[in-house]
Amino acid sequence: MSFIKKPNARHPNLPKNKLGLTRRDYEGALSTLCAGCGHDSVSSAIIEACFQLSIPAHRLAKLSGIGCSSKTPTYFLNKSHGFNSVHGRMPSVATGANLANRDLYYLGVSGDGDTASIGLGQFCHIMRRRLNMVYICENNGTYGLTKGQFSATNDKESKSRKGVDNMFESIDLAALAIQLGAGFVARSFSGDKDQLIPLIRAALSYKGFAFIDVISPCVTFNNHAQSTKSYEYFREHNEAVGFLDVIPENEEISVNYAEGKSIEVNVHDGSKMLLHKLNKSYDPGSRRKAIGKINDSRDKGEIITGLIYLDQNEEDLHDTLLTTEKPLNQLKKKDLSPGLKKLRQVNKSFS
C-alpha cells in the first residue's frame, strides 16, 4: 500500500493550471497497491498530464476492468466518474459510454491479463472501431491481483514465482494494435515520467484510439529468474512456506534517459530490462515500418519506447457512424420521439 503523494495541507503557493486548479485537484484516493508498484507511477503520470492539459476532471470518464491495474482509477481524478467494470470488458463499456456522450474524455486503464487474455477480443475490436479514447495497459507480464500467474504478454521462457517456465509466445500489444488499426500507439515505462507524461498528454489530445502500452513492473510477483542478494530472505522465506507471505516495501523505480538512447533497468527482483527510446528522427507515420521496428528490436532483446505509430488521419467512430453532434445523452424527447403523427404513418405502412 502506498500513496500517490498527497501532502495533507493545502499550500497556497501550489502551481495552478489554466483552470486555476492545482495538482491536488486531480488526485484520487489513497492507493492500496503494493509499495513501489509501477501502476502507482502511472497514476501519478496521469494526474500530471491531466493537470498540465487543464482538463476539467468532471469531463473525463475513467474506466477499467478487473486487476491491480484496473483498481487504479480510484487513485486519480477524484472528480471524474469512474467505472470499474468486469474482467476484460472495459472496452465495450467504454464504447457504450462514448456513444452516449462524444464530448467527454475517455481514459481506460487495464492490465495485461485484462487486455491480452480475457479481454483480447474486445481489445482488438475497439481498435477496429477507432473509438475516441485513451487506453493504457499497465503491463507487468503477470496477473498481479490473483497472485502471479503468467499473462499472455509474459516473455517466453521467463520463470514464474513458482519457478515454472512460461512456454508460450508472448503477445506484443503494441504490434497488435498497429496491425488492427489503432491510430496512436506508444510504449513507455512506468518510471519514466519524462516520457510517459507527454505521451499521455498527446494521447488525450488525439482524436481516435490512442493506445499506450506501459511496462509497469509488479513488485511482488516478479517473473524473472535472477535475484539479487537483498531479496534472498523474502524469496526464500516465501518459497519455504509454500506461499507468498512477506512482501517487501519497495521504492518505485524511476529512470531517465535521452531520446535515441538505451537504458538498462533493474527491476525489483534484480532482473534487467533493456529499454530503447525512439529517436527524434523516427517517423511514426508508417504502419508497416512501425510493426517491423517493434519486431526487430524484440529480436535484439530490446524494448523500444516512445510514440511508435501515429495515423494523422484522425477519425473516430462517430465520424463513421455519422452521429449527430450533440451528445446523445443530452437529446430530449422532442429530438427523439417521432410522435403520434409519425406513428400513424407507420401504421399505414402495415395496413
Binding site: H58, F83, S92, L99
Partner: protein, 610 residues
C-alpha cells in the same frame, strides 16, 4: 364442403425459392379484405434448399392462434409431400405443380394440379425469371380459386414493388397468367372462400420485433448494440431502419447510434456503458446470447445501471432450435447471473404490446435503475400478427427516474450514490460530466457502501443488498399489471398464462366454456408479480399454468416468489417449438381434469354450480 373465411391454408415450399414474398402477399390480401388472419412462418435454420412452410389461418370469429389440420395444402416441395399430406383434413384440397403429374395416396381429398413450371417455361426464357414468377403464377391461380378481391391483390403488388416500379408490370403479368389458367381450367366449385369483411377497429399486420424496434425509437433509445442471432436480429434492424427514417438531423447525421458488436459479451457491455452515461440504450438477443450476457447482467443489477435487454426466445437448451419458438428462458432470465440476483421481466403477448412495452421498458429501467428483460419469443417476434393500430400518447414524458442535475447537486449537502433517501430502495444517480465538483462516484461490481466506496464489511454489503431487494419488491407499481378475466359463471378454477400463447388461450377458454367448463384466467405481464396475480391465486382453488417449456419454469417462479404451495398448480406444458393451438390446451386441460381426482372434484363443483 364450403367454408367461408374459416380455414387453414398451408404452403409447403423450399427455402430461398421466392415463395416467402408471394405467401406474405397472399396473407396480406386476406388481411386487407378485413378478414382475421394469422400466418405462421415455419422455416429452417438454413438459407437455401430446405423445407419451409407458411401456415395461414383465416377465421372470421377472430381466433388467430394456430389450428390443427389443413384445409388447403399448396404442396410445392416434393421432399415433404408425404408428411404434409397427412395434415390435410378429409375433403381438403391439395394444390400442386402438375407440370410433372403425380399420384397422391389419399382418396379422401381433392387434388388440383396447376402446371406452374410449364406455364413459366412457356412464358419466360431466363431460368431465374422462371424461378421468380412461379410463385406469382400460383398466387394468381389461388386468387381465382379463393375468389379473392383482385383489386386488393393488385393494389398490394403495386405497393410492394413501388420502390422498384419496373417490377410491377412483370408481376401483374405473372399474376394474370395464373388467373387465366385457373379461370380456363379449374372448376369454380372450390370449397374455400374468402369474402370481404368489415374490420371492427383499425388493424395492422406487423411482427413483434418490428414493433419493438419502433417502440425503442418512441422510447427515445439512442444506442443499440447487438450481435446477430435468430430470432432477435430483425429487432435491431428495425430500430436502425426507423432511426434513419425519423432521427436524421438537419445535416443528415443521426440522433442515435447502432453498433454491431463482436459478440454478446460486448453488446451488453456497450449497452451498459451507454446507460451509465445517461443515454437510453438496449441490446437484443436470444438464449445463447442471454447466457453469455449473464455476468454483465449481474454487474448491471448490482451496480444499479438501467438497461433494456430484449430476449427473443427460441427453442433451447444450447443452440437448440434456432427457428422455433419457446418460453424457456424464464428462470435463466429471472435469476440471471451468479450470486443473489433477481431481474425485472416483461411478457408481451403480441406485437402491439411489444410496441407499448418497449416504450415502457426504458422508463422502468431508468426508474428502477436495473436491467429490464423483455421476454418475447420467435412467434411474436418474427410472425406477422394482426393487431389494433399502434398508438402513442404525445403527452407522455420520458421517466428518467432519479437523476440529479447540476442544479440538484448544488443544492444537496451530502450525496451518496446508494443512499435510500426516499425509503423506496431507489437511490439517486448522477451522469458523468454533470457537475465540476459534485456527484462523481465510482461504479463497481465489487461490494460497496452507500457512497459507492469499496467495502469488505459484510454487514454493509448485506444492507445494500437488502435495499436492492426492497427496491425490487416495491417495483411492481411501475410494471405492467396482470390482466384478469373472470369466467361468466362463478368458479374457482383458474388458468395462468402469458406471452404468445394468449390467442390460443382465448380460443380454448371459449371452447371449454361451451363444453361447460368455466375458467377464470389471468395473463401475467411482468415479474416481480403483482397483487392481482396474488389475489387470483388465493381466490382460485385450482390453478392451471400454461407455458411453453419442459420444466414448468413459470410455475417455479410463481411458487417461489409469491410463496404459494407449488402443488396448487397443474402445469400444461408444450415445448415442441410450434405456436400453440387451442385444441392442445383444451385436450390437455381435459386430460388433466380426468386424471386428477382433486381437480375432478373442483371442476365438477364449478360445473354444477354454473
Amino acid at each position: 364442403m364450403t367454408k367461408v373465411n374459416d380455414f387453414v391454408i398451408k404452403f409447403a415450399n423450399v427455402n430461398g425459392s421466392g415463395s416467402a414474398s408471394a405467401n406474405l402477399m397472399f396473407a396480406k390480401t386476406i388481411f386487407r379484405m378485413g378478414i382475421p388472419v394469422s400466418p405462421k412462418n415455419i422455416f429452417p435454420s438454413n438459407i437455401q434448399g430446405l423445407p419451409t412452410w407458411y401456415e395461414i389461418r383465416v377465421n372470421k370469429d377472430g381466433y388467430i392462434a394456430r389450428r390443427d389440420g389443413v384445409d388447403c395444402l399448396i404442396a410445392l416441395n416434393p421432399q415433404t409431400y408425404q408428411s404434409d399430406l397427412k395434415e390435410l383434413v378429409k375433403g381438403g384440397y391439395l394444390i400442386y405443380d402438375s407440370t410433372m403429374e403425380r399420384k397422391f395416396p389419399r382418396k379422401d381429398i381433392n387434388v388440383i394440379g396447376i402446371p406452374m413450371a410449364s406455364i413459366c417455361a412457356e412464358h419466360y426464357d431466363d431460368p431465374r425469371q422462371r424461378q421468380l414468377f412461379k410463385n406469382i403464377i400460383c398466387l394468381g391461380a389461388l386468387s381465382v380459386l379463393f375468389k379473392i378481391d383482385i383489386s386488393v391483390l393488385k393494389g398490394l403488388i403495386k405497393e410492394e414493388f413501388q420502390k422498384k416500379p419496373k417490377l410491377i408490370e412483370p408481376n401483374l403479368h405473372a399474376l394474370g397468367l395464373g388467373r387465366k389458367y385457373a379461370q380456363e381450367n379449374l372448376s369454380s366449385d372450390f370449397g374455400l372462400q374468402l369474402k370481404l369483411m368489415k374490420q371492427k377497429s383499425k388493424k395492422i399486420m406487423i411482427q413483434g420485433n418490428e414493433a419493438s424496434g419502433l417502440g425503442c425509437i418512441f422510447a427515445g433509445a439512442t444506442v443499440a448494440s447487438w450481435y446477430p442471432i435468430t430470432p432477435s436480429t430483425s429487432l435491431a434492424e428495425a430500430f436502425e431502419k426507423y432511426l434513419h427514417m425519423f432521427r436524421s438531423d438537419s445535416k443528415g447525421n443521426i440522433k442515435g447510434a447502432v453498433v454491431q458488436a463482436e459478440d454478446e459479451l460486448s453488446a451488453i457491455g456497450m449497452a451498459i456503458g451507454a446507460n451509465w452515461n445517461g443515454a437510453r440504450a438496449f441490446t437484443a438477443t436470444s438464449g445463447p446470447g442471454v447466457s453469455l450476457m449473464s455476468e454483465f447482467l449481474g454487474l448491471a443489477y448490482f451496480a444499479e445501471i438501467p438497461l433494456v435487454l430484449f430476449n427473443i426466445q427460441r427453442g433451447g437448451p444450447s443452440t437448440g432450435m434456432p427457428t422455433r419458438t419457446q418460453q424457456s428462458d424464464i428462470l435463466s432470465s429471472a435469476y440471471a447471473s451468479h450470486g443473489d440476483t433477481t431481474q425485472i421481466l416483461l411478457f408481451p403477448s403480441d406485437p402491439k404490446e411489444c410496441f407499448e412495452m418497449s416504450v415502457d421498458a426504458f422508463d422502468i429501467a431508468e426508474r428502477l435503475q436495473t436491467p429490464v428483460i423483455f421476454m418475447s419469443d420467435l412467434d411474436i417476434g418474427m410472425n406477422d400478427w394482426v393487431v389494433d393500430e399502434l398508438t402513442y400518447d404525445d403527452k407522455h414524458n420520458f421517466d428518467r427516474g432519479k437523476v440529479l442535475s447540476a442544479k440538484d447537486l448544488d443544492s444537496i449537502e451530502m450525496w451518496g450514490r446508494y443512499l435510500d433517501i426516499d425509503g423506496d430502495g431507489i437511490p439517486y444517480r448522477t451522469i458523468p460530466g454533470t457537475h465540476p465538483s459534485k456527484g462523481s462516484f465510482f461504479t463497481r461490481g465489487t461490494s460497496h457502501d452507500a457512497f459507492a466506496g469499496y467495502t469488505e464489511d459484510g454487514r454493509i454489503n448485506a444492507e445494500n443488498l437488502l435495499r436492492i431487494t426492497k427496491k425490487f419488491n416495491k417495483s411492481t407499481k411501475y410494471l405492467p399489471k396482470s390482466i384478469r378475466r373472470n369466467a361468466k359463471n362463478k368458479t374457482d378454477v383458474g388458468l395462468i398464462y402469458f406471452g404468445s400463447t394468449t390467442p390460443a388461450v382465448d380460443e380454448a377458454i371459449d371452447y371449454l366454456s361451451e363444453e361447460g367448463y368455466d375458467i377464470n384466467k389471468i395473463r401475467i405481464r411482468s415479474f416481480p408479480f403483482d397483487k392481482t396475480l396474488e389475489n387470483f391465486i388465493s381466490e382460485n382453488d385450482h390453478l392451471f399454468i400454461l407455458e411453453q417449456n419442459r420444466d414448468a419454469q413459470m410455475k417455479f417462479l410463481i411458487s417461489n416468489e409469491l410463496e404459494v404451495d407449488i402443488n396448487q398448480f397443474v402445469s400444461i406444458l408444450n415445448f415442441d417449438g410450434s405456436p400453440l393451438t387451442a385444441k392442445f390446451i383444451v385436450d390437455e386441460f381435459k386430460s388433466k381434469v380426468k386424471n386428477n381426482k382433486k381437480i375432478i372434484a373442483k371442476v365438477k363443483k364449478s360445473r354444477t354450480a354454473a
